[in-house]
Symmetry: C2
Subunit: 280 residues, 2 copies
Amino acid sequence: MEYLVNGVLTSHLPCGDRAIQYGDGLFETIAVCNGRIEFWQRHMQRLAAGCERLAIPAPDATQLLAEARTLLKGDNGVLKIIISRGQGGRGYRPATLAETQPTRMLACYPWPDHPAANLTQGVVLRYCTTHTTLNPALAGIKHLNRLEQVLARGEWHDSAIAEGVMSDMNGNIIEGTMSNLFFVRAGQLHTPDLSNSGVAGIIRAVIMELAGRLSLPLQCQCYSRDDLESADEIFVTNSVIGIWPVCQIEKRSYPLGEITHQLLDGLNNRRLQKGEHESV
Amino acid sequence: MEYLVNGVLTSHLPCGDRAIQYGDGLFETIAVCNGRIEFWQRHMQRLAAGCERLAIPAPDATQLLAEARTLLKGDNGVLKIIISRGQGGRGYRPATLAETQPTRMLACYPWPDHPAANLTQGVVLRYCTTHTTLNPALAGIKHLNRLEQVLARGEWHDSAIAEGVMSDMNGNIIEGTMSNLFFVRAGQLHTPDLSNSGVAGIIRAVIMELAGRLSLPLQCQCYSRDDLESADEIFVTNSVIGIWPVCQIEKRSYPLGEITHQLLDGLNNRRLQKGEHESV
């Protein structure tokens, strides 16, 4: 497979890159759908925020877009962008911001063949035993330290289970292994607070905005498994899947509800709206 | 710089390696001193324990030793070994253990030129604001998700400060950015419990054994900053530095005490002892 590393088509990265040595960087996973690079600006804003948090110089979004366009082969796919702190010697100490020469790495993957029923009939979730890590310095951003997701996703092999719910070690539910978590209870929308743990997804932010436009009351705080289980509707989100309604968590079933459908319609409109996206 | 990747001298790693994508792997940093590859067996045991935790097939230690010997150019240096889950497609899901083909990557760095006074006069420490992450699934092992250490080490540029003390977000002191932490109080040796956070170092384990042989009472539990500050002696350890006595943490000074010296003598004896090490 070919990657675009600092503008050069290659299949290899220098061994001294700090992405390899320490997971010292960030990434974005972007849906490319019917010729639209979806929510490009939002992805670039999150990437820049992550770079600021890690003291890595933010990439030039115009250059990244140009590079993405040279790499994209068709109208549909998944664009992955990695930004690392670049090469360095042994030792954790990062170069100063002025001295840092980040690595940018782009790849385009085929659109995943998730079952269409995930959207129409909902998906089955399980609970993971692997916890999300607690660290306010790393929470919210999409950094490259993703062992917790790898271990959690390795917990099951049953293809009937689409996603796993992860909690932190204090028992707060945080997110799915590859998605954010929402639930509706008594007409109110809820999503876990991610100040100490978890990745704040792009679609999560869009859904939170949509809730405001639909005058749907939204709460974002700490929740237990009991809170989730007493929900009327549950759904998960990410940039590639959009929204998947949840029909079951372990033994308990949930209806595909009205509010989930409203938000799904709202999201689909936003995915078609001009101004939010870039063309391939 | 040249690395040995799966037995081949190269400077590059395939972009699809999961070390790059997720920090999905482990590493060891091993002192090579006067022709001895120090505590080889212990490093291999920790690496195997880490592989078991991450469900990565453990490398063949005999093969790794043979590869290390082809790479080592002299009698002194720092050998770094990285084991990753190998190549994979997009997505967190790891291959099954049977399908996993790990990547092994070896590098030899020059011996670092730390000031000799670090050992004879002690070092100055500071407190870091970046927390260690809390996650029992990842605590103790030397995995590649090391952003917390990178951020913590990036907090200071004053070369008079040798190391930073990190705490978890519950206020428990855990370790240094690149070292483990010990302190002596009222004739008792203490080191933080690493069940939920931190890296369990090889020298830390040797020191804990030495304490037993010296009939020095040892406690390993949760400690606050106050516990550390009320210590009679403090020292930090890692495989390259061995022991550095601590003479100062921020404004507070500490004597280089008797027990630290006993443990330093004990460690030096172990570094010379036959059977513990491999030759280059």
